[in-house]
């Protein structure tokens, strides 16, 4: 009985309060959508994924390109200044290996730096 009375009261209250709902003005939806679209247009677009592989190849080409140019210069210089016999000596091969190691290390550092920067992003 008590519950029935409460239900009746609830229904009455509901009926009364239903009349108090506000209606949004007609231009509000336009205002909201306009702001959202403007914001969407101004948001910087994501960097395309292909850029990553391009940058990777460019680094590889740049570093090892310079390395091969330098090695060619060393070989040419040694051949012209010290003769063909020097090219067979351990001293010459030691220099070649050292140059390769330095450039490889430099490339590794570049990759590590790139990786850490990506991770931070």
């Amino acid at each position: 009985m008590k519950e029935k009375k409460r239900d009746m009261e609830d229904a009455e209250l509901r009926e009364l309060i239903q009349t108090t709902g506000k209606k949004a003005p007609e231009n509000l939806q336009y205002r909201i959508m306009h702001q959202i679209e403007a914001e969407h247009a101004l948001t910087p677009k994501k960097v395309p994924v292909t850029k990553k592989s391009v940058s990777l190849l460019r680094d590889l080409g740049n570093i090892f390109g310079v390395m091969y140019i330098l090695l060619a210069a060393i070989v040419g210089g040694a051949y012209l200044l010290l003769g063909e016999a020097f090219l067979q000596s351990p001293q010459f091969w030691g220099t070649v290996v050292l140059v390769s190691l330095i450039f490889s290390l430099f490339w590794l550092i570049t990759r590590l730096d790139y990786h850490l920067r990506e991770k931070r992003k």
């Binding site: 009375k5 009746m8 009261e9 609830d10 009455e12 209250l13 509901r14 009364l16 309060i17 239903q18 009349t19 108090t20 709902g21 506000k22 209606k23 949004a24 003005p25 509000l28 939806q29 205002r31 909201i32 959508m33 702001q35 959202i36 679209e37 914001e39 969407h40």
Partner: protein, 186 residues
């Protein structure tokens, strides 16, 4: 198409899909904002800001709750911040002890529909903002206590207690208004 699919559409870059949410919930959003701010101009600004916030944070929406509940929570928080007022006040709590049973009265029978609407509107405006908001959420859109708790950040028992008090106060003020109408003070 359900709401989650629409959310996915918006997240994939189709901003116009968001219009569905604006169209569907703007009336209730403005009602909530109006209850807290007290005027339409501020309520419109609050609703606009809330929708933009919802759009920006749409990726954080989890489908565990309804989209409307999530949105109304944003509207509620934005309105409270905007109006810089405490909406849960203890005022008038002593007065509600003498609330009169609404169903016992037939006074509303003589009131014209428009007058009755004005009286109800007036009563809600005289009530503390939080209480008027609870009644609006509970009776206007049939939100459950759990949903109201989620929107307002109150816990469920607290919502129940406040709702009970709000209901009593509403009835008391309404009776008061009707008595004034009957006595010719309106």
């Amino acid at each position: 198409m359900n709401e989650n699919q629409r959310v996915q559409q918006v997240l994939s870059g189709n901003t116009s899909a968001f219009a569905y949410f604006v169209e569907s919930y703007q009336d209730m959003a403005i009602t909530i904002a109006y209850r807290i701010c007290g005027n339409m101009q501020d309520a419109e600004d609050v609703v606009q800001e809330s929708y933009v916030k919802a759009y920006r944070n749409l990726h954080t929406f989890r489908s565990e709750s309804k989209f409307s509940t999530w949105l109304y929570r944003i509207v509620y928080n934005t309105a409270v911040t905007f109006s810089k007022t405490r909406i849960w006040t203890g005022m008038m709590e002593t007065e509600i002890e003498y609330a009169v049973d609404l169903s016992d009265r037939g006074a509303d029978a003589g009131l014209a529909e428009r007058e009755r609407r004005e009286v109800v509107k007036d009563v809600l405006e005289r009530m503390p903002k939080g209480d008027a908001l609870l009644l609006t959420l509970y009776y206007l859109e049939d939100h459950t206590v759990k949903e109201i708790a989620s929107i307002t950040g109150l816990n469920e028992p607290n919502v129940k207690v406040k709702l009970f008090r709000a209901r009593k106060m509403f009835k008391e003020l309404l009776t008061e208004c009707f008595s004034m109408e009957d006595a010719g003070y309106s």
